[in-house]
Symmetry: C2
Subunit: 356 residues, 2 copies
């Protein structure tokens, strides 16, 4: 499908399960469930010994394309921590890999792209993604929907800007200079690339939604590197295409990036139902920036999982209290779980949130 062709609207499949009692979904709809729902970004992964045991000798991307393994890894933190949602275990580059882009995830570095994409020819040579190319992920989702019981499952995709940054830089980058230079100097190349990546994200998310995920989160991890002016001009239209492309499913759409205090309203304007907030501003201030009516997710500094329990307890209580300014609040970290964290601390935080 050409990126200039509008994506066909799909109607929500009638087979979608209903989870009317799920606190996560109630909060995402802007309601106040009996308890504050909680999950943790990167709850599935390196912080858990059972994850490290299962992954031993298995390359990251192999684990993301193995339905049984990705289902088991997704379930591990739900069993252990009693969180209110599962997040599909995957990686931001999975749909690119599935489409045939030559890349790998290098331990200790991150995604590395064989041929950086920096001109129109390279953009046009990018493959499209067909739903059947991500069928192992869809199969994993189907296993999860069977096994999760009443716990909602959140689908996962990377937003066009962050995906594009990996393709343009060739890997993780501190300063994103090639990405920013390209978007400003060759906007036609940028918009073609971001449009194609939006299509890929929509196909990836629809495959997950067709297989039964109950919500989706669009990760624009590095959007906070941009000014609001640049975000609205270069990024928002493409993230909006993704979020609109899954609107017909009627499930909550969460949108998150780190360091996005200046971008919260713009990210909501892209079509998010729930806006993720890192730890740099309190949730009541985030709600104010969102015009006073908003559903927010966040915002415990993941570094503070290394602090003493009294410190952590006070932070959790503060955040739950400040979250009352929102129409709905899903407790979470302000970024992903760090690998060195004691998982028992996460369990204790989840329990505390449920008590408050």
């Amino acid at each position: 499908m050409s990126p200039t062709t509008p994506l066909p609207q799909q109607s929500a499949p009638s087979g979608r399960r209903e989870l009317p009692e799920a606190p996560f979904l109630a909060a995402a709809r802007g309601e106040r469930p009996a308890r504050t729902p909680v999950w943790f970004m990167r709850q599935a992964g390196r912080s858990l010994p059972e994850y490290r045991a299962l992954r031993e000798g298995v390359p990251m991307l192999d684990s993301c394309f193995d339905p049984e393994m990705l289902a088991e890894i997704t379930l591990q933190p739900v069993r252990r921590h009693g969180v209110d949602a599962a997040i599909l275990y995957s990686d931001i580059v999975v749909p690119l890999k599935a489409a045939g882009v030559d890349l790998d995830i290098v331990p200790g570095t991150g995604p590395v792209v064989a041929e950086p994409v920096r001109d129109l020819a390279a953009v046009r040579a990018l493959p499209e993604l067909a739903a059947e190319q991500v069928s192992p992920i869809a199969d994993g989702v189907k296993l999860l929907v069977e096994r999760l019981g009443e716990t909602p499952l959140i689908g996962f995709a990377g937003a066009p800007f962050t995906l594009a940054s990996y393709l343009i830089e060739g890997g993780p980058s501190r300063n994103l200079e090639h990405t920013k230079a390209l978007m400003h100097s060759a906007p036609e190349v940028w918009h073609e690339l971001a449009g194609r990546l939006a299509d890929i994200a929509v196909t990836f998310l629809r495959a997950q939604l067709d297989a039964g995920v109950d919500a989706i989160q669009l990760f624009d991890s590095w959007a906070g590197a941009l000014s609001e002016r640049d975000y609205r001009r270069f990024v928002l239209p493409h993230s909006a295409k993704v979020l609109e492309g899954v609107a017909a499913y009627g499930v909550p759409r969460i949108h998150f990036g780190v360091g996005t205090g200046e971008l919260l309203a713009a990210m909501r304007d892209a079509g998010a139902d729930v806006v993720g907030v890192d730890w740099r501003i309190p949730l009541d201030e985030a709600v104010r920036r969102l015009g006073g009516k908003a559903v927010v997710q966040g915002n415990l500094d993941p570094a503070l999982l290394h602090a003493s329990w009294p410190v952590l307890e006070a932070e959790v209580r503060r955040i739950v209290e400040e979250g009352k300014a929102a129409d709905g609040h899903i407790f979470n970290l302000g970024h992903g779980v760090l690998p060195g964290v004691d998982p028992d601390v996460l369990t204790r935080v989840a329990g505390l949130v449920h008590e408050l």
Copy 2:
């Protein structure tokens, strides 16, 4: 000197040179000189071929302690770009190294500390800094004051929080989890450490001021990782101690960190005369956050030095225009020059700023 002892006030040496015509100093005082002054953070360094030639085979820290070499490296960008200020070539860990802390700068990694400092015993074992330990830097400053003519020289020091983060983490860190955990869980250890580092920064800056620098910039590079609440509680008092410790010299004190849009007023409250602003918010918004009266420095995204000239020209013009909202504006980047930049682009930007 114990960190709990107030530092003695020093009166400004009567031998300080006057540079009444320097646009940089006029803007720093909140005046509007005939042209907008411009310099670039990290203008001395890897972007310049003459720097790379001079440094060949010389370890980073050796070059920082060689008066002739540091003077020459400091002068290189002034000759080449015609900027309105020189910034002392140094590194944030130089005063720690001078005091005897076991650390090195590892190419491609950054500062690496042999023994991370994470408890009170380790903090109390930290050496103090005596002015004579940084006499090579003071000697370099004296050479520079002779050689710079009418161009002001900015002294350089790292702020306590950023210095502490290297000592606590043992090197550069993306998430600063040990630093944040320590400041929250063991505030008495944190404040002892930050207080000692403030003393070291004061001694280092006074040595530079006594040797003749015309302004100082206190770099709190990673302060943007903190919420304003945490910044004001754990960091501001120590940065204020540094800025107050050099107040008697009567020279402009610039204070900068990246990603500090939420912290600008707090950083000014620490005692800064000039507040550095990265590229994430426009200067007129920064001035608004500073209460409408402020001298600001910034705020071109260094990544855009890789963009095409028409894009860059438009950005420079926008920033100069937005800077008119301030009482004084010193044009600069929003962070340091990236190593891969074409230095001719910097020269062209400096020329354009002078024309506007």
